[in-house]
Amino acid sequence: MLDGVDLDLMPGELVAVVGPSGSGKSTLLHLAGGLDLPEAGEVEVAGERLSGRSDAELARLRARHVGFVFQAFHLVAELSGEENVRLAARFGTRDAADRVAALIDAVDLRAVARSLPAQLSGGEQQRFAVARALVNDPTVILADEPTGNLDARSGATVLDLLRRSTDSGRAVLVVTHDPAVTARADRVLRLHDGSLA
Amino acid sequence: MIERLRALLAAAAATVLLAACGADAGPPAPGSTLQATLRDADGDGALERGPAAPLRDRTELGAPAPSTRTLATLGIISDAHVRDEESPARVPFLDRFGSPVDSTFRPQEALSAQVLDASVRAVRSQRPDALIVAGDLADNAQANELDLALTVLRGGRARPDSGAPGYDGVQRASNADPLFYRPDTDAPRHPGLLERAQRPFGAAGVGVPILPVAGNHDLLVQGELPPDARTREIATGDRMVTELRERPKLPDGSSSGAQRVAAIRAILAGPQLGPSRRVAPDTARRELRAGEVVERLRDAAGVPGSSASLDYAADVGADLRVLTLDAVDRAGGSGGAVSAAQVRWLRGEIARAGSRAVIVATHQPLRSSRGGEAVLALLDQSPAIVATLSGHTHRHRIAPRRTASGGYWEIETASLADHPQQARMLRLVSTRGGGRALETWVVDHDGAGLAGIARELAFLDVQGGRPRNLGAGRNDRNVRLGLPAR
């Protein structure tokens, strides 16, 4: 589906990728994060090549360098919001656990930290998702339509979080339809017929 | 495991069945085997109802023409052996040695009075003109046995118990001897049977004239021994011998009466007698003297006379005369004995019979009695004789006796003591063409209550009527006997 895509992300960048549905935006994100392997070509994250890695190595790389945010939030239903963040923290470095509380406060969800996802609104769930993505202090955040399932206000909050997360040199790659996102992006790329423009 | 499931199912089925029928009843028979018989078709040791057994013609003395009129009907009950099973004057421990002492114990012996009562009822339902009791009414010449039997025959309150109230004999459950049937523990189990057997009951009686015949068990101890002081002492005493120390010397079947008496006396006196236990004494157990027995039986018959021998004549209706002969040997021994004086008496009575038919009744068959040949020779010359009746063998038997003037029939009836536990009806009829015939058939009692259990036990008895085929064949039971033309 993707053919001849070249992409470089700079630290501190928020890059938006737009394109018609079915053009492979999600696939691009998955490849970037090592969730899928390209048939040809190379993916490098933070100087580490993803090809030829075992699943364990990929997992380690993801843990250290990549954070994901999904359109459907994808929180584990049996865990509370805080536990979802803590879960991710397990796979990171030792100090990730200390960041959990701070992150939850940062996304302003202390009050509902113990609630299960089913009890949370879409915006709250996505904010937990963002906190989860950030807890291991990744080099890059990959977001797939992060505001797609949110109302305007929640979407704005989440977008804000994503924007601020680049302050510390993190890169953010967002696949989106949302004009609000593209408005605040540093670069906007168009995916068309399998290639980026 | 499957076995247990099967046992459970069988128990459940049995409970249902038991609830459905009465617990102790044998298969009820209506009485006359002309309507239904009892037989063990499947060989499992239990009697069931079978088909009717109509009269079969026996033509050895002439073919019997169809009957026109009944002239007389007799009921015949033989060898009831009503016994006082708790008496110390008994030797049940000899029974296991087989013949000739294998009648000293029977599994159903405590029920003898009830069996007689049921048979009397069955005979009564056939409406006879008179009842012949062909001997061995009692079992051990004891006063209480004869009294009990006569009460049952005549009607009244029968009291089978003796000694202390309740049962105290060899069949009690606490007796360790496994060769006695103990109804509380041995198969077929009938818990409480012995206690029930001791209870008084009301006997209806036969309701018609009774014609008793003297039998050896009516006058002799165990049918062999003339009673004396020693036997009386034992009978009315309080000690019952329970076992032998060693195997006794028994008389064999072919020994004479005197030899048997001697052998039994030797046993009673000898060292083989083992330990004894204490029982409650009862003076009613004393053995009657011969004269007392004859007197009581004569009284029951309503026949006057004073001779020491129970010989008498009785008319039944206008057409039949029954002559009773006393064949008991007062010296002892179970074989029959007829004296020359009795033969003379008989000759006179036959002559006085006129145109009546004559039946001669003895306990032991004449053909095997001492002096019987002389009697038979006399009968052979008397055309009035139509039949001789006897018991003692405990087996049905009907045989023709051919004589110059035609002949007569020898009719033997089985007992109540052993299987088949049947009585007999005998009917004299006139036939078309002016002749006469005899019709005879056997009768089962109705098997209600204890009498039914007695029949069940008698059938199972390995020393009893079944292995020895005392029920005999069809030609010995329900037959029409042709009589020679006069």
Partner: protein, 753 residues
């Protein structure tokens, strides 16, 4: 039908898993069912096939006419055959020989044996029939020759089977049959050796007691050695094989139940998994009935061939060892009769699979279709605000398990039943070993004896490891009425039950000096029942009387035993002595106790177990049991695998997200381990409880007619089963984790079906 096949082809991998589960269940049922059915019905079948008489009478040799005259009087008899049994005859064939052979001289009439090869004895000279056990042990065939003592070399005309004892070499006496004509030919027509065996067939076998009661007066005076009834023979044979037979029969039932539960769980899980697909069908307008029908048809199409395969393989695998076992017992294999229970099992398995699919399909259809179509992780039930315990990855895995209540419950029940069944197998295996080494079963509970007096018993009882000690006296006695060969009185000063406890058939245990328990053989011969009086003559003293309070199934001396208290026997014979019987405490070390006894000056001897002498017999039994256990283990593996796979599928997205978040494969394994633990731990606990309070007592009760069984579960058993299940769980976790991690993460995130 064609549509169904197409549907199934679309889900090939899942269909194969379900089929494998069904096949495993079928295998377990096939093995256990074959063994159980064959053994449970073996005796009855053999008795019928071999025309076993209802009563076998052994007498001193008599003239035929004498015996016939007595026995023809018996009521309820259908037929009687007579034979002469000659013992201590030298038999030799095919390089084997024995000096203690038995020759049965057979007369015309009903045989009381069945001819399983060749033909029966006829008019031809020089022929013999050989017992099947001998033929198999000595490798003889029809046509071979056998040397029979004074008869010389005879040709084997056929092979005969009789169920009046276990087979040679389990019974130590080899047996052959020759005709009376053969004896006449050899020794002359007037040799007239007499007869000493009477075979009695009853018209109504349920009235056996009536015939037995009549037999006593009928045979009085003949030297009767034994009146053996079919029910007593059956008891000997069943006990000779150990109570394992009853256990295996019950075990077959348990295996069936277990398999049924597993199948139902599997089918239900499959349907639940396909809930969204079903929802789509409903949305497209399919009726509920049609959907249920389709599901049921699918389940049947998968289950039927799998069940047939599993049953077939199981039955075939078990057939060999089972035939071997039956051969030892002189019993007959069910042959085609086995098809009925197998068909029933087949129908049962398929029905369970179908019901397992139909029921949840029916129930699922009740939910709103829209609910079914909603994607995302399915969390059943409304979200509750409850304290969810954390526990890291394991806890998460456990929570995944709990989230699907129905599946969790059914899997746990299946595992619990399987676990209980395995515990039962282990208990039985322990029993086999103990049968061989420790006579703590089949009635005899004391392991050692030392010579001594009763006062020594107190000293001995204080030795650590000794649970109880008492003097055991035996007295040979005759019954006062000479109806039976000498009987044996076994006496203890007090209660004998701690030392010997043959199972009680009727009545109760003795409690006073004047009371006794008698063996079934003696009870039959003397007509004893609880409440009867027993009169015996001990050798050298006067008559003693006792009251019978109980009847026991004792094997010793053919059941002609009496259990009593020593007091009365000692009064009659003050010199009465006997060894001290010693019962070991459970878990005691026998060697240690022996040493201590030795130190205290007592020379101990071990008591042998009342077991079959042949070790290979035990070996065959053990291998059969292991096969059954293995089959159950396979079923457990399949169940756990299935559940884990289903969980992984349900939680595909969550697991994918975890991987996306950087979870290494180890983390996934940890989660799945939590899931597996959530299944296995409660299952093990339940299994132990089930075995201890339900299965064990039921089986012990059903086998109680053969032995008093200590079917408890030891710590080793629990560890083995728990460990086994844990190992199975670990294997399952590994397999599923590998499968899960092989898939690219993206796939999990995007699709969730």
């Amino acid at each position: 039908m064609r549509r169904a096949l197409r549907r199934l082809r679309g889900r090939r991998r899942r269909v194969l898993t379900a089929a494998a589960l069904t096949a495993a269940a079928g295998l377990a049922v096939g093995v256990a069912g074959t063994v159980g059915f064959s053994l449970a019905t073996g005796y009855d079948r053999a008795a019928q096939r071999t025309d076993q008489p209802d009563v076998l009478g052994r007498f001193a040799p008599q003239r035929l006419s004498v015996l016939r005259e007595r026995l023809d009087r018996l009521p309820n008899v259908e037929a009687i055959s007579y034979r002469l049994e000659v013992n201590r005859v030298r038999l030799a064939a095919n390089g084997q020989s024995k000096r203690n052979g038995a020759v049965h001289v057979v007369r015309p009439g009903r045989r009381g044996y069945g001819v399983v090869a060749g033909r029966d004895l006829g008019s031809r000279a020089g022929e013999a029939l050989v017992e099947r056990g001998v033929a198999e042990e000595w490798k003889l065939q029809v046509g071979d020759r056998i040397d029979v003592g004074g008869l010389g070399s005879l040709r084997i005309a056929g092979i005969a089977l009789s169920v009046d004892n276990v087979a040679f070499p389990l019974a130590t006496v080899p047996r052959i049959y020759v005709s009376e004509a053969e004896i006449s030919r050899r020794f002359g027509a007037d040799a007239n050796p007499g007869v000493n065996l009477a075979l009695v067939w009853l018209a109504d076998p349920s009235r056996l007691d009536i015939t037995l009661a009549a037999a006593r007066p009928a045979v009085f005076g003949l030297r009767t050695e034994q009146l053996l009834t079919k029910r007593a023979v059956r008891q000997v044979i069943d006990q000779a094989a150990g109570i394992v037979i009853a256990l295996l029969a019950v075990f077959g039932l348990v295996a069936c139940a277990c398999a049924g539960v597993m199948l139902a769980a599997a089918s239900a899980a499959e349907v639940r998994r396909r809930a969204p697909a079903l929802g789509v069908q409903r949305a497209l307008g399919a009726t509920r009935g049609a959907v249920v029908g389709d599901e049921t048809l699918d389940a049947v199409l998968v289950a039927a061939p799998a069940a047939a395969l599993g049953l077939g393989v199981g039955a075939l695998a078990a057939a060999g060892p089972t035939a071997n076992l039956l051969g030892f017992l002189n019993e007959v294999a069910p042959g085609s009769a086995l098809l009925w229970p197998l068909a029933g099992a087949f129908a049962g398995l398929v029905t369970v699979a179908a019901a397992g699919a139909a029921w949840p399909a029916w129930r699922l259809n009740r939910k709103a279709v829209s609910e079914l179509l909603r994607g995302g992780d399915l969390a059943t039930g409304p979200a509750k605000r409850r304290r969810v315990p954390s526990g890291g990855l394991f806890g998460l895995g456990a929570r995944f398990a709990f989230a699907r209540r129905g599946r969790w419950t059914s899997t746990i029940s299946a595992l619990a039943v399987a676990g209980a069944a395995m515990l039962l197998v282990l208990a039985v295996a322990d029993l086999l070993v103990s049968l061989r080494d420790d006579p703590g079963t089949l009635g005899r509970r004391y392991a050692l004896t030392v010579p001594g007096e009763q006062r020594d018993a107190r000293t001995i009882a204080r030795i650590p490891g000794v649970a109880a000690a008492a003097q055991r006296s035996t007295v040979e006695a005759a019954d006062s009425f000479s109806l039976t060969e000498p009987l044996r009185v076994i006496a203890y000063p007090g209660d004998h039950v701690p030392f010997e406890a043959p199972p009680l058939a009727e009545g109760r245990r003795l409690a006073a000096d004047g009371e006794v328990e008698v063996g079934l053989g003696l009870a039959d011969t003397l007509g004893l029942r609880p409440g009867s009086e027993l009169a015996i003559q001990p050798a050298g003293s006067g008559e003693l009387r006792f009251r019978v309070v109980g009847i026991v199934r004792a094997l010793e001396n053919d059941g002609r035993v009496v259990y009593a208290r020593t007091a009365r026997l000692r009064d009659a014979d003050p010199s009465l002595g006997g060894p001290i019987a010693i019962r070991l405490a459970s878990g005691a070390d026998r060697a240690d106790v022996v040493r201590r006894l030795d130190a205290a000056g007592f020379e101990s001897s071990a008591t042998g177990g009342a077991t079959p002498r042949n070790r290979s017999f035990l070996g065959v039994l053990a291998s059969v049991l292991r096969a059954v256990a293995l089959a159950i283990g396979l079923v457990c593996l399949a169940a756990i695998l299935q559940t884990l796979a289903l969980t992984t599928r349900d939680r595909r997205r969550a697991l994918a997200v975890m991987r996306a978040t950087g979870a290494p494969p180890g983390a996934l394994a940890a989660v799945l381990t939590g899931t597996a633990a959530a299944l296995i731990v409660p299952a093990v606990v339940l299994a132990v409880l089930l075995q201890r309070f339900v299965l064990g007592p039921i089986v012990a009760e059903l086998a109680a007619s053969y032995a008093t069984l200590p079917l408890g579960v030891g710590a080793t058993g629990i560890l083995l089963v728990g460990g086994g299940l844990a190992a199975i769980g670990a294997v399952a976790v590994l397999v599923v984790t590998r499968a899960a991690t092989r898939e690219p993460v993206a796939a999990g995130i995007e699709r969730d079906d």
